[in-house]
Symmetry: C2
Subunit: 205 residues, 2 copies
């Protein structure tokens, strides 16, 4: 459908063309447009501008493309949970930090995170990704519980529910946010925090 250029030429030996990373970027883009199951290797080859069999030079199959993409998103998200901003200080501050970082990561790795958030658990690869996602969600859930115990979150709403709504809001960004169309990741994070936290936080005296 779209011939596409074979990517940049590096100073490396061998024939120029796609390397794993540049190929993955295109693949993930197409997956997000048509859905993983809705994308055939044929149309993927078409969009890459190379033949289908060439794809198998880079990866063992369709599933590996998915696995690489999901791994990239998950690694970025988990990295944020070990940063000092997310492990030190008052829980409510850690939570806000994690929300902001998650928005940043989502914006920076938008295609990969998008793919991750759409996984339904159809294969072993997908189920493994879902399990890691659940781990991340637990981390968030514990932060909210701690913040509630520390008295920094309105006790009227169940902490588990707050955690879900909060990251539901963050994750919903993938549905419409596109980089370089006015709004920066920081602006986004500000807006998300403004809407959610000014509701979560106790009214200022």
């Amino acid at each position: 459908m779209k011939p596409a250029k074979p990517a940049k030429r590096t100073g490396r030996p061998g024939r120029p063309g796609y390397d794993l990373d540049s190929l993955l970027a295109v693949a993930v883009k197409v997956f997000n447009e048509k859905g993983y199951d809705g994308t055939s290797m044929d149309v993927l080859a078409d969009r890459l501008g190379i033949s289908k069999s060439s794809i198998y030079h880079h990866v063992s199959g369709k599933q590996e493309l998915l696995e690489l993409a999901l791994g990239r998103a998950l690694n970025a998200l988990f990295a944020a949970t070990t940063e000092t901003g997310a492990t030190e200080g008052r829980s409510i501050e850690r939570l806000e930090y994690l929300v902001r970082r998650s928005v940043e990561i989502l914006a920076a790795e938008l295609p990969y995170v998008t793919l991750l958030l759409r996984v339904r658990g159809n294969s072993a690869v997908e189920r493994r990704a879902l399990a890691r996602r659940r781990e991340f969600d637990e981390f968030v859930g514990n932060l909210v519980i701690a913040a509630a115990e520390e008295g920094d979150v309105s006790p009227e709403v169940d902490p588990a529910l707050v955690a879900r709504l909060l990251f539901g809001t963050v994750n919903s960004l993938i549905e419409w946010y596109r980089p370089r169309v006015g709004i920066s990741a920081d602006d986004l994070a500000d807006a998300v925090v403004a809407m959610t936290f000014d509701g979560l936080r106790r009214p200022r005296t």
Copy 2:
């Protein structure tokens, strides 16, 4: 995989079994589990406990199943926009009403709304559904703009952004909410409104 019972016996003529509605309910459930593209008519027949060719007695094809399901969700959502709560009174109140009704509809028609929110525009049917969804989003967007002009929403954040975040939060409910597991639709709506509106509304004097 799961033989499934052929459904209730009504007082109507003809062999008992699935009617269109009961068949659609099962189909949508499977679509949500495996994704529309990831669901073959063979496994669908399996889950229904009938043969594949029997499905074609009820619908003309896979696409019609999707179309019926999406129509049901869209009709329910649009119906809410014509209710008096959404058309009379201060804009901020209309907006809150529409949020609450949307949560209720989402809870009541969960499988159908879930399917709708996952459509990617792969076929003509899907694109039509996306167009109608965009119409709904515009309705919401205009409400937020009006509420901002009436001075009931913090002017610090762009109204279009607020609309997206707000309904992003509502729509994210499909990712985890399941009826009859403690939380009622009203509880949900309360929590959503509490988190979002107490941030959106100007601090009370």
